[in-house]
């Protein structure tokens, strides 16, 4: 089972290594990890997706909480949170296929951010399933390159996860 957790960490060098090291040492499986600044320059926020049952999730949260540079760890239950991921996808596109690709892009409310004679780059945002779906549909044209950010997530409503 997949779980999404938000981790607020001190914005210091080596913190990512500590977290990655913890996951490998304790044999926890990371599906995705994204990290970026928060509103407070002293802290960064990571969104980590892990595989495992309830006991594994509990251990992940407890072990992360033990790291001195980790300020807060919180599970983001799927029903109570919004999740987004961004993907940029370079597909083969010539005169014949270009319009069909543009239709797909419109349906998914994605964007074309680069065009050349033989390729297009598409920017897609959405939850994991949506990104998977557009990739699946674009595959028929030939995906030349794919970059995904990994998931970011936030609890719905007024509750906040911050330091």
């Amino acid at each position: 089972m997949k779980h999404t957790i938000a981790v607020i960490v001190e914005n210091k060098s080596g913190v990512l290594t500590r977290i990655a090291g913890l996951f490998s040492r304790r044999s926890f499986n990371i599906d995705s990890l994204s990290v970026g600044a928060t509103d407070n320059p002293d802290y960064s926020r990571m969104t980590i997706t892990v595989q495992g049952d309830k006991d594994v999730l509990e251990q992940v949260i407890k072990q992360l909480s033990k790291l001195i540079n980790v300020i807060r760890v919180s599970e983001l239950a799927p029903a109570e949170s919004v999740e987004r991921e961004l993907a940029v996808i370079k597909v083969s596109a010539d005169r014949e296929s270009r319009s069909e690709i543009m239709q797909i892009v419109n349906i998914f409310r994605a964007k074309i951010i680069d065009v050349s004679a033989k390729s297009m780059i598409i920017e897609a945002t959405g939850d994991e399933e949506k990104i998977d779906a557009i990739i699946q549909l674009l595959r028929q044209f030939g995906i030349k390159e794919l970059a995904r950010t990994g998931k970011v997530a936030m609890v719905r409503g007024p509750r906040v996860v911050k330091a």
Binding site: Q59, I68, I71
Partner: protein, 586 residues
């Protein structure tokens, strides 16, 4: 806050002084020259070791004996990597320690400079936290944080990597308060959880209190005693918890697990409630985890929330300091009289005592331990790892939580001797005895020089069986006596001559009748002393739960295969006669 200008090196020493450090164990090197120059001009006691691993274990032994933070110091590169085993050892056993390593100049970091090693990277998974300093302005804050992290909550080692240029940089010394937004060790316990735990304890018919090193670190042995005696609950300890409950008390079950007592293991398996305190359900303790204590509810008290539910399912978790928790529990429960459960355990104790087969011709290791206990009952005992460690845990009657010092989690051979030196530095008024094997002792025997030169009169009792005994025991039992790479022989070294070469006292006993005189002579000596006890090489640690078996499937192994004794003795004999033959032992 006073402000004084000083160098980074002086700021390190000022920080150590403010943290109450009275001794550091270390060995200098190129990048540490400025720091050692400052040490030279200070009144900090520095013990020069002969190998950095020794420094780490000495700091560890000092910390375990005193409860204070132990400090070791090593230079960059190989000095730092030589500390690694000692740091890992302290991490596994939750020992408060600060390890200071030198590092190359900041502008050389990452350039593969001479004696450069990424020691913060290397020690990431074996420290509670670590720091790489970039400026002398960070020194006082980082040292203060490091000591706080090392000893608070669940203790552990913290490493500070100190680049050379940071130690010569001028800095205004300040002493800022600790401010760690991500570190809040639980101290108080949840009242509701205590009430629930107390109810389970009162309702239980067959309770067992299972105690680990956490009770030692929290100084909770008095509270444990009060609780156990108030409700007549039997107490078993892990290797790390040995001494937390007096073993001569009727409620003591001794140690549990692989080489624990039969009655401790039977009690656990039959119990209907286990109160685990500061213990972590290690595989050497639980045996086969699926069949561990099948009928028991489990209350788990631990200061580290991550330990609760890690290995076994827990019914009542109690996060917090063991001393607070046990004191609260003792207050909450009402006295319980002795019960049928106590009687049952009493019968098990009578039927299945720890035992060995005495011999009048050949020294039995258990006999040596019993004699040591008789002649030095209040000594601090450190151990090496293997058979010597198990016999020391089993046959010495432990009564004081800080007087049994052993490498539990990592199982580091070569730990006991330097740990003894550290313990003696911390408790100079105590007799300190390292119970060793001939294999383990050689792994850090160079520290004999440290002990002699610094006049630290520790005693070493080598149970010399000429082999790597614990592995040999497994080969005898599970690998049809194929002694692959476990035979050391008794020809080299001659431990008496080795001791003398270092300026220590060397004594040897080859017959049971010589054991007591040798121990008496060693205890009377005011110098470091080695006792070389030539023991039966075929002796096994008994009883034993085979790896992967359930605790109740514990086997008696006190028999000695006589053919095995002669087989091993024959392997040793010829060359031995050349060296020791004139003494004609055995």
């Amino acid at each position: 806050m006073s402000k004084t200008k000083m160098t980074g090196a002086q700021a390190v020493l000022e920080s150590l002084k403010r943290e109450g450090v009275d001794v550091v164990f270390g060995l200098p090197g190129g990048v540490l020259l400025p720091l050692y120059d400052a040490i030279y001009q200070s009144d900090l006691r520095h013990i020069l070791v002969r190998h950095e691993q020794g420094a780490a274990h000495m700091a560890d032994g000092y910390a375990r004996a005193t409860g204070k933070v132990g400090v070791c110091l090593a230079t960059s590169g190989p000095g730092a990597t030589n500390l690694v085993t000692g740091i890992a050892n302290a991490y596994m056993d939750s020992v408060p320690m600060v390890a200071i390593t030198g590092q190359v100049n900041t502008w050389l970091i990452g350039k593969d400079a001479f004696q450069e090693a990424d020691i913060t990277g290397i020690t990431l998974p074996i420290t509670k936290h670590n720091y790489l300093l970039r400026s002398a302005r960070e020194i006082s804050r980082v040292f203060r944080e490091a000591f706080y992290i090392a000893h608070s909550g669940r203790p552990g080692p913290v490493l500070i990597d100190l680049p050379r240029d940071v130690t010569v940089e001028e800095v205004e010394f300040t002493w800022p308060e600790v401010n760690l937004p991500g570190y809040h060790p639980s101290f108080k316990v949840h009242e509701m959880q205590i009430k629930k735990a107390a109810k389970l304890l009162m309702d239980a018919e067959r309770p067992v209190i299972y105690v680990g090193g956490g009770v030692k670190y929290a100084d909770a042995h008095r509270e444990l005693f009060d609780l156990a005696t108030k409700i007549n609950a039997p107490v078993t300890t892990t290797l790390m918890g040995v001494g937390c409950f007096p073993e001569d008390h009727p409620l003591s079950l001794g140690m549990l697990g692989m080489h624990g007592t039969k009655y401790a293991n039977y009690s656990i398996q039959e119990s209907d409630l286990i109160l685990a305190v500061g213990a972590r359900f290690d595989d050497r303790v639980t045996g086969k985890i699926a069949s561990f204590a099948p009928r028991a509810k489990i209350v788990h008290i631990d200061v580290d929330p991550a330990e609760i539910g890690k290995n076994v399912r827990v019914d009542i978790p109690v996060v917090g300091d063991a001393r607070n928790a046990l004191a609260a529990l003792a207050k909450e429960v009402v006295p319980k009289p002795r019960s049928a459960w106590n009687e049952k355990i009493e019968a098990w104790k009578k039927d299945h005592p720890l035992r060995y087969i005495p011999d009048i011709n050949i020294i039995k290791p258990q006999f040596v331990i019993e004699k040591l206990c008789e002649l030095a009952p209040d000594a601090i005992i450190t151990t090496e790892v293997g058979q010597n460690q198990m016999w020391a845990a089993q046959f010495f009657v432990h009564k004081d939580p800080r007087k049994f010092i052993s490498s539990g989690g990592l199982g580091t051979m070569g730990y006991g001797f330097p740990a003894a030196i550290g313990a003696k530095m911390g408790c100079p008024e105590c007799e300190v005895i390292d119970i060793a094997g001939d294999g383990s002792f050689l792994m850090n025997s160079q520290e004999l020089a440290t002990a002699v030169v610094n006049d630290i009169p520790v005693k070493v009792a080598i149970l010399n069986n000429g082999c790597l005994g614990m592995v040999r025991q497994w080969q005898e039992l599970f690998f049809e006596k194929r002694y692959s790479a476990t035979i050391l022989g008794r020809t080299s070294p001659d431990f008496v001559k080795l001791a003398e070469a270092y300026g220590a006292v060397g004594l040897r006993a080859t017959r049971p009748s010589e054991v007591e005189p040798v121990i008496r002579a060693a205890l009377a000596a005011d110098r470091p002393t080695i006792m070389d006890f030539i023991i039966n090489p075929a002796e096994k640690v008994s009883p034993m739960v085979p790896a992967g078996a359930t605790l109740s499937e514990i086997l008696d192994l006190e028999w000695c295969d006589e053919a095995n004794t002669s087989h091993l003795e024959k392997i040793y004999s010829d060359a031995r006669k050349e060296i020791l033959g004139s003494e004609g032992y055995i």
